[in-house]
Symmetry: C2
């Protein structure tokens, strides 16, 4: 299935093989992938995109799995994207995740994919945006994005989510970590997982204290929930809270605004691609190496070169 | 000192107050900062930019300090940039670093600055590029960029360095961490710090093993050095190795090529700024909200809108 139109049609029909092929194109950043995202964007916009983030060891993946199973029981179609920005070269998470989610491989209502960085920094958040669009257009109504920690890349990726769930666990010193990583600012729902362990209530209290102090939440005060994901405890309540947040987004008009911002995003990606294409063309101009040398030596204003790139034709030397 | 030209002249004269002001503009991403980098770029290009990276706890900062002191003794002018991409909101590292480097505050041949992210992902590597340009143009001939870990942002920042030094320490399980984070691919020099501890030789051997296996180094096989930065041991040898790498870069023509790539970088930044300006203007057009809605509903091709943005004028409706 290499034909672009076949893949596009397949995705619209929810065909898993087509979805898999499309996601590969999107992840690799190929022209086919870009075309696909652009053409599918108008058919997307229905899915609730949920980000799940937290430090390693808090049981994030277990929670995502439990939540996905629960959502399936409710008849929802669930897409899962496991994003690993810490792996710039190897893309190592893929196999592990596949094994972990083996149970759901046979279920047509679940689609799981790992996304790793392919070197370029902005590439991963763009690939994630594209992957969300593909899954959304394929009819997955709930998309979970799982990502580690709260570095810069994660923050950018989490901006793709309507609802961000921050997962912590007792006794990991996570209360302090949370402030440090600025994780409080991005969470709309907080989960203390492994809540059967000592110190769970303490963790809940410190999150609550920090939320009250640190930030203003005029419309939505982030709830703090306790779960034991391994046994599925608290997962139904989490799902209800997440659905409640979607309700809030819709009532307040944020949901609508979010979609507009995404449209702008798509326009921005087209422009970015054009700019890169222009730059690549300029690299083939005979003047190019001389210009770069002249800029390096301070003899030529980079703006003059930039203008030529923008207009797609080398300026005439005086 | 708020006047742009005064700051620019001050930087060229190596005036520390001007450098400090310029770096603040650059870090904040202001128009003044962008103008400054553009105008100083032609006066830069002499400094050797050295990246120092490694996991927390390996003694990276101590090593950077020891290296800086040693370089000063050799009469070199040293700029230090401590980059903390893990801190998207708070910029928390600043005070700590200032205190740490107090000894060198009175020395006009050392300039130390912390850079933290200001929210935007690409912003930090751009700010680092700008800061390097400012320090370089101010006459600092050796610039050390210290950064934590080896996430995506770090990799992008390390691309600004001519020479990347990867620091490890015995007994931290760093050998395995190194592979995982893809750190092997970016290091031109490896340092096992805290080499007076047990297991130092083991760490050296595992790095060597991995280097031999993992990657091809046709021209430069990364040396592995042992240091005890706290006592300054091995620091002179490290400096010689780093100087040797610069020699290699110059002989092989890579140094020259590096500078060309940076010129291209500057042109790219100008283009990016123009694109953003165009987008911001477009947001003020009366058609804009309607267009975004139409894109979201699949009724309008984003390329058509992108074209209007590119040309700086809204297209006419049919």
């Amino acid at each position: 299935m290499k034909d672009w139109l076949t893949v596009q049609t397949g995705i619209r029909n929810g065909d898993k093989r087509a979805v898999a092929r499309g996601l590969t194109w999107v992840e690799q950043g190929t022209d086919n992938g870009k075309r696909l995202v652009k053409s599918l964007f108008g058919s997307a916009g229905r899915a609730h995109v949920i980000g799940v983030t937290g430090a390693p060891g808090v049981g994030k993946s277990t929670l995502v799995n439990a939540l996905a199973l629960h959502l399936r029981q409710k008849g929802r179609y669930v897409g899962i994207l496991a994003v690993d920005p810490s792996s710039p070269f190897s893309g190592g998470a893929i196999l592990g995740d596949r094994i972990r989610m083996q149970d759901s491989v046979m279920d047509p209502g679940v689609f799981m994919r790992s996304l790793a960085s392919r070197g370029h920094l902005g590439g991963l958040s763009r690939a994630t945006f594209g992957a969300v669009t593909v899954l959304d257009a394929a009819g997955f109504d709930t998309i979970l994005i799982e990502t580690v920690g709260a570095g810069q890349s994660e923050v950018e990726i989490m901006q793709l989510a309507h609802t961000t769930v921050v997962v912590l666990a007792p006794g990991l010193g996570d209360d302090i970590q949370a402030i440090k990583a600025g994780i409080l600012e991005i969470g709309q729902v907080f989960v203390v997982n492994k809540a059967d362990r000592d110190g769970a209530d303490h963790t809940v209290r410190s999150i609550r204290g920090m939320l009250t102090l640190a930030t203003e939440h005029p419309d939505w005060m982030p709830p703090i929930l306790k779960t034991v994901a391994e046994r599925g405890e608290g997962v139904a309540a989490l799902r209800e809270t997440i659905d409640g947040h979607r309700q809030h987004l819709e009532t307040s008009g944020i949901w609508h605004q979010f979609r507009r911002t995404q449209s702008e995003h798509v326009v921005g990606q087209v422009l970015e691609d054009w700019l890169l294409r222009h730059l690549n063309e300029a690299r083939g101009w005979p003047q190019w190496p001389g210009w770069l040398a002249a800029i390096a030596e301070g003899r030529l204003d980079p703006e003059r070169v930039a203008e030529s790139v923008w207009h797609g034709a080398p300026y005439e030397e005086d």
